[in-house]
């Protein structure tokens, strides 16, 4: 009798747990996966087509992984245990492997930084050629505008082990029909340069790199006033698990620092809607925000963010960039009347219309256009100018 009862509890318990997971997935699915900061997977509608092409089956697999009770706890536990284990066993090895790339399940580390492998010029030249050609068309067609290009050199631009530069930035600038003083770059010539300017666990620049970029941009854009100065030294904001700190490398974190600035008053419009601010610098610096990320602090990759300082005597600036500019757009906006920061990847999804360059600059009375990003920005088709 006792045997039966023990076995009944065992078999019944397992069955109930499994059925609860299934019921949650089918009948009460959650919408957001907070752990991975994305929409939670759902079961796709079952049709003959979705069954035959396997998409229904895939969706069930993914949905269960997201929806079953405690799935986020499972994932967090798994990542924590595996990454802590890896961190523990790798610590002595990493300390022995100074100044060489170390691969952790496809993620590269160089000293204490999680990095990307450098590209060769042969790999990137065709896409850089295409982008230069695209930009040149617009430089020629819009002679009334002042175009500027700012290139952020980073880990993909040079081999830290050998110190060899890939030369992509030089190659690209050579192909632009712009005077030399309309181009500039965040110069990275060694790992030391890189680690001083970039986050260790994230692919973005850090407070020092971003501020250096901002001061160089002020100069490049021929702004006739000095750059905003930070109020004091860098402030410790919190612990950052950067964009590259995922999976096996999720145990790697760093302290995130930022400068505090006294920004002039400006109205912010986010994708056409009035917003209190862009990013949450104030909240983080006052300790009133958590879930620290680069985007959360400086602002996300919105289709369009408009900053209006209500100084009509100044010019209007259009910034066409990627996530790197998130850290400097508000600083740059301090020197212009209206500043429009557009991320071409998200313009149509967020605003529901295509970005037409000529119409846009005319409509917003733009006088200066800044094209800013790292090598991938100058390679990706998503950032090709149209219209």
């Amino acid at each position: 009798m006792a045997k039966k009862a023990i076995n009944a509890v065992f078999a019944g318990g397992i069955l109930l747990l499994l059925l609860a997971g299934l019921a949650r997935t089918v009948f009460f699915p959650k919408e957001i996966n907070y752990l991975e900061q994305r929409y939670a997977e759902q079961i796709a509608p079952l049709t003959a087509e979705s069954w035959l092409d396997g998409s229904f089956q895939d969706s069930v697999d993914k949905a269960l992984s997201d929806q079953v009770q405690l799935s986020e706890t499972y994932k967090k536990t798994y990542n924590t245990v595996s990454s802590r284990f890896l961190k523990a066993v790798s610590a002595p090895i990493l300390s022995q492997c100074r100044d060489r790339y170390v691969n952790i399940a496809g993620t590269l580390m160089f000293n204490d930084n999680i990095v990307y492998a450098p590209f060769t010029l042969e790999e990137v030249a065709p896409s850089l050629d295409a982008k230069a050609e695209n930009f040149n068309e617009y430089f020629a067609a819009h002679q009334e505008l002042d175009f500027y290009v700012y290139y952020l050199e980073r880990d993909i631009d040079l081999d830290f082990e050998t110190g060899e530069r890939m030369g992509a930035r030089e190659y690209f600038f050579d192909r632009l029909d712009l005077p030399e003083d309309r181009t500039a770059c965040l110069h990275v010539d060694s790992f030391e340069d890189f680690s001083a300017r970039y986050l260790r666990t994230d692919h973005h620049w850090n407070y020092a790199g971003a501020y250096q970029g901002y001061t160089e941009l002020v100069k490049l854009l021929e702004v006739d006033e000095p750059p905003l100065a930070p109020q004091g030294g860098p402030v410790e904001v919190g612990t950052l698990y950067g964009s590259r700190s995922t999976g096996m490398t999720s145990a790697f974190s760093e302290t995130f620092y930022a400068y505090r600035f006294d920004y002039p008053d400006m109205e912010v419009t986010d994708n056409g809607y009035p917003a209190a601010d862009y990013g949450s610098q104030k909240e983080f610096l006052s300790g009133g925000a958590d879930q620290l990320t680069y985007g959360g602090f400086y602002g996300w990759d919105e289709g369009e963010v408009r900053f209006d300082t209500n100084r009509p005597e100044r010019e209007n600036l259009l910034i066409l960039g990627e996530s790197y500019d998130n850290a400097v757009v508000k600083l740059l906006a301090s020197h212009f009347n209206n500043t429009y920061a557009v991320d071409l990847r998200n313009y149509e999804p967020h605003l529901g219309k295509d970005f037409q360059f000529s119409d846009y600059v005319e409509e917003h009375d733009i006088t200066k256009v800044l094209l800013i990003g790292c090598m991938t920005y100058f390679r990706m088709d998503e950032f090709t100018l149209e219209g």
């Binding site: 023990i6 059925l19 035959l52 890896l86 492997c97 790339y101």
Partner: protein
């Protein structure tokens, strides 16, 4: 669908369990199992389900004809031969035709277009099961199955459908019609399933990390030690992968009242290659013995003919695993060792201490697994070369090339312990019916299941190696 994926664990299994035990009628319960098995197969191979239905139909019709022509040996034999040829032809076309055409082109310099036929999941397993029914029926060992759906249930029964064990019809002939499901069997089946799941999810996938890193990495980085580590890791991976699947199949069968024969018996403690093959994939080895080796005359023939028989059987065993030359080579390698042990080595091994015999067997099994792993002969020779011509390992280089190799290395000693037969005391505890022991046993399995579920939900790497066979 694989047993170690969320859709099976959270969806398929609990639904089938509930539907099955909701009926108290054998016909309906079999109906639930049959429908579930077809859904299980169609989950991954919706279009190729028809092929399995037709192959079963061939065997069903062939069986009926053999019975109808029971008084006419020639006609009965004709029905048997035609059925076997059709089934074997089916397997040949879907598994070996691409390989045959590619090699014919190579050999004759021809330009025959490659058929590009997709290999249906589990075709080797279910074809061998169907053949066992047809051959046993011809030999009079089993009675004809007049109900197509019962025969289809035998062939398609989801626990053993796609990666074995190769269950013979005579093993389940009776249980298809009459079987007794009990709560104790269900609990024991669940425990067995969890053991198999743990073997697959923790050990097979864990050791696979090391194998992947080394065999897919830059050969210049890894020295002799790492190539041996990879060979051992792969031997463990394939054992835990396949025996884990068999455990899950046996456990699932038991939940639904079926009692399949064991498929593995701690093969890596074998004292010879012959002993290894009594312990490894027993259902396949015995299939080849009973349906190929013995009909060829077995050992009751001339010495030369016997050698040829062994080589034929082991060549076919190799090719059964896949249409690649390395599988043929792997089969012949094993066949040659069996011959050598029967002729010479066996007498030497008898005189050696058991530990040395085990070391000998393990050494040559591990080497054979390298042959099994590489379809590309260049890579295979390169790996074997690394193992047998000493090259020091640059450990820092290994770490730099992929630190996750260390993660895989962690599972190798764990696997080496787990592959051994459990100590008697532990075995007794596991089999004990005493309430405290049973409760502890169930709790241990619940914890093990918890670990597996955490890994399954969190990670996506879990393909079964034996699926492709």
């Amino acid at each position: 669908m694989v047993f170690s994926a969320s859709p099976f664990i959270y969806g398929f299994f609990p639904i089938v369990f509930l539907l099955y035990f909701a009926w108290n009628n054998r016909i309906w319960r079999n109906g639930v199992l049959l429908a579930a098995s077809l859904v299980f197969y169609a989950w991954g191979e919706p279009r190729l389900l028809v092929l399995m239905l037709l192959a079963t139909l061939e065997a069903y019709a062939g069986g009926l004809l053999m019975e109808r022509w029971g008084q006419s040996p020639r006609r009965r034999k004709a029905a048997f031969v035609v059925t076997v040829v059709l089934l074997a032809g089916n397997l040949f076309v879907f598994k070996y035709l691409n390989f045959a055409v590619a090699n014919l082109n190579l050999l004759l310099g021809g330009r025959l277009p490659l058929p590009g036929i997709v290999l249906p999941i589990g075709i080797s397993f279910y074809t061998f099961q169907i053949l066992s029914y047809v051959i046993d029926l011809y030999w009079g060992k089993v009675a004809v199955q007049r109900n197509y759906f019962y025969l289809l249930l035998y062939v398609s029964f989801f626990p053993q459908l796609i990666a074995g064990p190769i269950v013979r019809y005579q093993t389940v002939e009776h249980e298809i019609r009459e079987r007794r499901e009990t709560l104790d069997d269900a609990a024991a089946g669940m425990r067995r399933f969890i053991q198999g799941l743990a073997k697959k999810v923790i050990l097979a996938n864990g050791t696979a990390a090391l194998v992947e890193v080394i065999y897919k990495g830059d050969p210049a980085v890894y020295g002799t030690a790492m190539y041996w580590a990879a060979a051992v890791a792969y031997s463990l991976q394939i054992y835990f992968d396949f025996s884990g699947y068999s455990d899950m199949a046996i456990g699932l069968g038991r939940i639904f009242g079926f009692h399949f024969l064991e498929n593995f018996d701690h093969p890596y403690v074998a004292a010879s290659i012959t002993d290894f093959w009594r312990r490894w994939h027993i259902s396949m080895a015995s299939w080849f013995r009973d349906y190929i080796y013995i009909p060829l005359g077995g050992s009751r023939v001339s010495r030369t003919r016997w050698v040829v028989n062994i080589l034929i059987v082991w060549g076919l065993t190799g090719l059964w695993h896949g249409a690649e030359w390395n599988y043929l080579l792997w089969g012949l390698y094993n066949g040659l060792f069996l011959l050598a042990e029967r002729l010479v080595l066996g007498r030497v091994l008898d005189k050696l201490p058991k530990a040395l015999c085990r070391l000998y067997a393990m050494f040559f099994i591990v080497v054979s697994m390298v042959v099994f792993y590489f379809n590309d002969f260049g890579q295979m020779l390169q790996a074997l070369g690394q193992m047998f011509s000493f090259r020091p390992t640059d450990w820092m280089g290994v770490a730099a090339a992929d630190l996750s190799a260390l993660y895989g290395l962690f599972f190798v000693p764990l696997g080496l312990v787990w592959m051994l037969p459990p100590p008697k005391a532990l075995r007794r505890l596991g089999e004990s019916d005493a309430p405290a022991a049973l409760a502890a046993n169930n709790l241990f399995h619940l914890a093990l299941a918890g670990v597996c579920v955490v890994i399954i939900v969190s990670s996506k790497y879990n393909p079964f190696i034996y699926f492709r066979f």
